[in-house]
Symmetry: C2
Subunit: 210 residues, 2 copies
């Protein structure tokens, strides 16, 4: 997608990606012009076309890179192994999801809100990656449900609900807020397990396998 470039060009491309991500997240893909991206990058508008064939390609590249990095990072985590005990695996997944997304708020915003700005071939490419992420979580929930550890009669529905809950944090979390990120993280991990009847903490003496 990106054209070949020398060492100076690669730097420009990277600055352009960062500028585009920030601008798309704040104003939306359609509301941002290539001229604005170029200005933030520190080059003329025409120079962008040495690195990205079209504005649409630039958007697609941002989403694909984000989702591929997400999948690769999780698959490298030890708790991602299929042998991990389901409650531990789900807790690790929730924690990983929250941290990875909190560190990349712009990319999350763009990747979830600009799906409709992709033309059909690009949409399908990105959608496959999103689906792959959902499948990672569903596999954990399904294992736990079959083992009688989770109450999840419909693992796919539980997956969509919980991913929605976890990803939604990105929409309102502010680093300057009242609670530290660690507290918000702990509360969400707890609610994730609780939602499937597998809470680990406190006054709940009723998890199926105590």
């Amino acid at each position: 997608m990106a054209r070949q470039a020398g060492s100076q060009g690669a730097e420009t491309a990277e600055r352009a990606r960062r500028a585009a991500l920030s601008l798309f997240a704040r104003h939306g893909y359609a509301a941002v012009s290539m001229r604005e991206i170029a200005a933030e990058t520190g080059v003329g508008a025409a120079a962008l076309y040495n690195h990205f064939a079209t504005k649409q390609d630039l958007l697609t590249e941002l989403m694909v890179k984000h989702l591929e990095a997400l999948l690769a990072a999780w698959d490298a985590e030890p708790e991602a192994a299929a042998e991990t005990e389901p409650r531990a695996a789900l807790a690790a997944f929730a924690r990983f999801h929250l941290r990875f997304h909190a560190a990349r708020r712009d990319a999350v915003f763009v990747s979830t809100m600009e799906l409709r700005s992709l033309d059909q071939p690009n949409f399908h490419r990105v959608e496959r990656l999103r689906r792959a992420w959902e499948d990672r979580m569903e596999a954990i929930i399904r294992r736990g449900a079959e083992a009688g550890i989770f109450r999840a009669p419909e693992p796919r529905i539980a997956t969509m609900a919980l991913i929605g809950m976890l990803t939604g944090v990105t929409n309102w979390y502010r680093p300057a807020g009242r609670l530290p990120a660690s507290a918000i993280e702990a509360l969400h991990v707890e609610m994730t397990l609780s939602a499937l009847g597998a809470a680990m903490t406190g006054d709940d003496a009723c998890s199926p396998h105590p």
Copy 2:
């Protein structure tokens, strides 16, 4: 916001609102032109300006009307009363939220995704209404937590998490899907209560007040 209009004009305004809602939901505010809205409405572009001063005003009106209708409809429900038992109130709130939103997918989409397209005064107006909705739910959770029925050490966080979960359904639910809406609704109501340690169903014999 809308201009005065005779009986024919009022009809045009309503058709324009519907057209704009559908187009904004599908392609995004910035990607849709007044000409497209006019074409879908069946009038020329200039005619729209008899009913909406600017494109921005049209967007704002759509959001405000949606959120005001949401608040008014909930406040008219019997379970919205402050005396309702917290578990019943939360279940009713979740069910109401799911149904109201499922019936207005375009309005939900626009109202959550196009906040960034509002200029500052309009943003604050819409944000106040969104906040009011969150406050409705938070009040229920707070009551239940204080009564020891819900496990929610931070009612505001629980509110944001659960609203995110419930609203997220709009992003992936398809009427033609495998499960009927009633099943998806039941599963979400159950997960909502479970997340706060107050499940009502089945193999969970451990709700604090059995």
